[in-house]
């Protein structure tokens, strides 16, 4: 009872903070303070629950029907990243998007940011179909306004409209799913359903869930809204969109599947394969991006694919009553949700700092920023290693869970899906390393590629502090993962309430392994320290101002550097959206040459866009109904009423 009340109070704080900041000349400190208080309350409640507190719920009535809010381990697992990133984003946003900007978007940004966090908090508590859908819509609409913060730019307007269309298509599917579930359980209240009736029914609910929530998760054909929306939004908004809002899709499928008495076989394998394809597709396209925020967005698609692989593995485990497989799959998925929230929001904050300092999102115009923004470079560095899943940082651990799960399922008779998953995970890791070597190398290393870099400097302390906190978390989670095992066990237990199974599976099964792993990682850090000390003992000679030797090349120019595009050039065959026009050389003395390259998303921009445009042109015919005169609309209302009336009268006769 106490925990759920705390979380409700946190929703209230965020909502109040949002309302206050909407007022002209609002006291910003008060609004920020309320939001931070809300985050602390929710974090405290979630941690208390995950560390062993009891599940607490609140029953009330909506229009006479029973409804319920409940805080269980699964909700708490998603509240943690939400309020961590939400609170840090509030601090970051103060200087990143000052309230006193000339065009006055600061107020609406703060209002909808608070509303988004409040709506998502409510979403994670809802145990009632209608409450869930209302919270879902509130979240979707506030995210629409956040994406469209800079609505004076046409590409931003476009991105936010595409997002709105996608999220509403998803909501339509979810409404169908909620109705189907209500049919099954005889009410909108979400309780664990009794024994299974037919696999078709459960399979139908799961398919609708994957399709509806898939728009949020960005699984393969439904991802196309995501890159431009993330690139257009202010950076701390992109951070919370990527770190938490995409995860509401994961939360949704986990929540719905936890209500079902049984998971049909085969659905898990399908989701695993879908996740693997999504991950490969995301990372392949991340390699091709010039816009560094779009690159991060494609990398989010990749990571959501990895999480979906974990969920698929967990479903397979549940369908076959294999607790160990289920624990590794669900555990890996939830752990990766946390880790991705930490490192991706750090990367987006870093991207925001770059955007703030240079004003461009084009990687090829930057370079050498590590010399001009040393603190930003140092704090972003752990996230870059983490996103490539390299030890000793956090994401390596969650991928390690998934590798363990895939290898375990290899031994238990699902060789094909696990073989696909293994190869995909290994390839994705390698390609993510290439993509983020390119990201860090092009932005921070080398020499500047344009004058935009000249006046770049580190951002204010209030922007650096959230980044430093997240960077510390990347390393701390990487080293202390064994401390999180009991928390993950609680979450896994909440995901399969019906099945009898031994408690503390992960804590018993992985504790020794993870401790040894942490020991090895500490050894690595110690060796790095020794190596650096050995190098520094000698560096007492005066530092000469020397150019890069570069094989004795006398006049190095920044333009001759490898660009981001040339770095990833060898991968062009696996980048489905990249179109390049290469020069052709003929004869011994060829003339001038030019090279062009452009990226268009293969699903959204190449396939869907022309078709949608064509349909929209056909639909223009209906425009004549939209006269803009009030009497005409009144006529429509009257006609509709008459039609309904006639239908009521004749229904009995027509249907017999």
């Amino acid at each position: 009872m106490l925990d759920v009340a705390l979380v409700l109070a946190s929703t209230g704080c965020w909502f109040a903070g949002a309302l206050i900041s909407a007022v002209p000349r609002a006291p910003e400190r008060l609004a920020t303070g309320l939001g931070l208080l809300g985050s602390l309350l929710a974090l405290g409640a979630a941690l208390h629950l995950l560390l062993g507190g009891a599940v607490s719920g609140l029953d009330f009535r909506v229009w006479g029907f029973p409804a319920r809010l409940e805080l269980d381990a699964l909700s708490a697992a998603f509240l943690l990243p939400l309020h961590l990133v939400g609170g840090l984003g509030l601090i970051y946003g103060q200087r990143y998007w000052p309230l006193q900007l000339a065009w006055g978007s600061g107020r609406s940004l703060r209002f909808f940011y608070g509303l988004l966090v409040a709506a998502m908090t409510l979403l994670f508590l809802a145990r009632h179909g209608l409450v869930f859908l209302v919270a879902w819509e509130l979240m979707a609409v506030s995210a629409f306004f956040l994406v469209g913060t800079e609505h004076e730019k046409p590409e931003v307007r476009r991105a936010s409209w595409v997002y709105l269309a996608c999220t509403h298509t998803g909501t339509l599917l979810l409404t169908a799913m909620v109705i189907l579930m209500a049919q099954r359980s005889g009410g909108l209240l979400w309780t664990v359903l009794p024994t299974a009736t037919s696999p078709w029914f459960e399979g139908g609910i799961l398919l609708l869930a994957v399709a509806g929530f898939g728009f949020k998760m960005g699984v393969l054909p439904l991802h196309f809204w995501l890159p431009s929306a993330h690139a257009s939004a202010p950076s701390h908004v992109s951070a919370i969109l990527s770190a938490v809002m995409l995860k509401t899709g994961i939360y949704g499928i986990l929540r719905v599947s936890s209500l079902l008495p049984d998971i049909p076989r085969g659905v898990g394998g399908m989701l695993l394969a879908l996740g693997a394809l999504t991950a490969l597709y995301g990372v392949g396209n991340a390699l091709a991006q010039r816009d560094y925020k779009r690159l991060l967005a494609y990398s989010s698609i990749e990571n959501l694919g990895i999480i979906a692989m974990g969920v698929g593995l967990g479903w397979t485990g549940r369908a076959t009553h294999d607790p160990w497989l289920m624990a590794l799959g669900f555990g890996g998925a939830v752990f990766h949700v946390w880790n991705h929230a930490v490192f991706k929001s750090l990367l987006f904050y870093g991207a925001g700092a770059l955007l703030h300092a240079t004003g461009t999102r084009d990687m090829e115009a930057l370079g050498g920023l590590a010399r001009r923004m040393p603190r930003t470079a140092l704090t972003v560095f752990p996230a870059v290693l983490a996103v490539a899943a390299l030890p000793p940082f956090n994401a390596f651990l969650s991928e390690w869970f998934l590798y363990r799960g895939l290898f375990a399922s290899l031994g238990r008779g699902y060789p094909w899906s696990s073989a696909l998953g293994l190869v995909a995970l290994a390839l994705v890791g390698g390609m993510a390393a290439v993509a983020f070597a390119r990201f860090f190398g092009t932005l921070f290393l080398g020499s500047p590629r344009s004058g935009l870099v000249d006046h770049a400097h580190d951002p204010a302390a209030s922007m650096l502090l959230p980044m430093a906190v997240l960077a510390g978390l990347c390393l701390a989670v990487g080293l202390g993962a064994f401390l999180l095992l009991p928390l993950l066990d609680r979450v896994i237990a909440a995901m399969a309430p019906g099945t009898p199974w031994p408690p503390a599976l992960l804590a018993v099964g992985l504790r020794v392994d993870l401790r040894l792993l942490a020991g090895v990682e500490l050894g690595l850090l110690a060796l790095v320290g020794v190596g650096l000390a050995w190098l520094h003992r000698q560096a007492d000679a005066p530092e000469a101002d020397l150019p890069t030797w570069d094989c004795g090349y006398a006049a190095p120019v920044a333009r001759a550097q490898y660009t981001g595009s040339s770095f990833a050039d060898a991968w062009a065959p696996v980048q489905p959206g990249l179109r390049a026009r290469r020069p052709r050389f003929r004869g011994l003395f060829p003339g001038g040459a030019s090279f062009r390259q452009a990226f268009r998303d293969p699903v959204g921009e190449v396939f869907l866009e022309p078709r949608v445009v064509r349909v929209a042109e056909r639909l223009l015919r209906f425009r004549r109904f939209q006269q803009g005169h009030l009497p005409v609309y009144l006529l429509y209302v009257l006609l509709t009423l008459l039609g309904t009336f006639l239908w009521m009268l004749l229904r009995g006769r027509l249907l017999g």
């Binding site: 590590a370 390690w400 190869v423 390839l427 094989c551 770095f567 050039d569």
Partner: protein
């Protein structure tokens, strides 16, 4: 305890011998005298005393490559069994850590190459990133096949098991080792993937990435490369070695096999030329296919 001490000493002292052996083999095959076998030890001692030169473009990332490479290599060496002597540290899933530690070393090397802002080094970094991402699946598919065969995820169990060479596993094992030899040549930048002795920067992969390192950082780079030669070599040798009853025999067999591997690499380098850069991915895919086929054989 003594075993672990020997393991540590081998890792710390032996690696620079391997490039010397390779170079000597190549020289003898070409009818030259060649540098002494211990040349790399002399080089390292000299470099450790030299002053390092840093360009004005570089930052702390420039040092991360050499230091991270050696640290990751040393830590990874604790996870592999040398011959049939078990590794000092082993747990379920250490094989994944092993593979990702090399990934870490590579990633840091690539970043420190990009830090110089030189186009040559950027070129090398791009090539290294591409080729190693292609070599990664071969390594993992080999691990997957071994894991399936031994139902274990610990290198000490996975690699030591096939010493008994059950008939069913002989075919897949040969395929895995063939795939891993390709990975070995690529990861250590040997002919036919890369030529460590080439004089033209445009054709280099690994060497061109460390052009700007000097003094102690360069000593770390050279030592790290020889360490990789040892640790990845162990991966290939251990499954192929027969098990001996006594520990000292195992060690002796291991050292002999290591020397044999170095000589074999030297023979390969003497007898063929480097591939054209466009053919290298095909060569690496051949390695992936060999291990994938081994994996399939284990599944059916």
């Amino acid at each position: 305890m003594l075993q672990f001490l020997l393991h540590g000493l081998t890792v710390l002292l032996l690696p620079p011998l391997l490039p010397g052996l390779i170079a000597k083999t190549k020289a003898l095959m070409a009818g030259r005298q060649g540098p002494p076998v211990l040349q790399l030890y002399y080089d390292l001692a000299k470099l450790a005393r030299k002053q390092a030169v840093f360009s004005r473009t570089t930052t702390w990332v420039f040092l991360a490559g050499p230091v991270g490479g050696v640290a990751a290599g040393l830590v990874a060496s604790c996870l592999v069994p040398f011959g049939h002597t078990p590794a000092p540290v082993s747990f379920e899933g250490d094989v994944i850590l092993f593979a990702y530690l090399f990934g870490l070393a590579r990633f840091l090397t690539i970043l420190s190459a990009l830090d110089t802002g030189s186009s040559f080094e950027g070129m090398g970094a791009a090539r290294e990133a591409t080729f190693s991402a292609l070599a990664e699946p071969a390594l993992f598919l080999g691990f997957a096949a071994l894991a399936k065969a031994t139902s274990s995820l610990s290198l000490s169990t996975m690699l030591a098991f096939p010493g008994s060479l059950t008939a069913r596993f002989t075919g897949p094992l040969i395929l895995i080792l063939a795939g891993w030899v390709i990975v070995y040549l690529a990861e250590n930048s040997r002919i036919p993937v890369d030529d460590p002795n080439t004089h033209l920067e445009l054709t280099m992969i690994h060497e061109v990435m460390v052009l700007d390192h000097s003094g102690r950082p360069f000593a770390l780079v050279l030592y790290g490369a020889s360490l990789k030669l040892l640790v990845l070599g162990t991966l290939i040798l251990t499954p192929a070695l027969p098990r001996a009853p006594h520990a000292w025999q195992n060690w002796l067999a291991f050292y002999a096999a290591l020397a044999g591997l170095a000589v074999a690499v030297g023979v390969v380098e003497s007898s063929m030329a480097r591939f054209r850069m466009t053919k290298v991915p095909q060569f690496l895919v051949a390695g992936v296919l060999a291990t994938a086929f081994a994996f399939l054989l284990m599944l059916v």
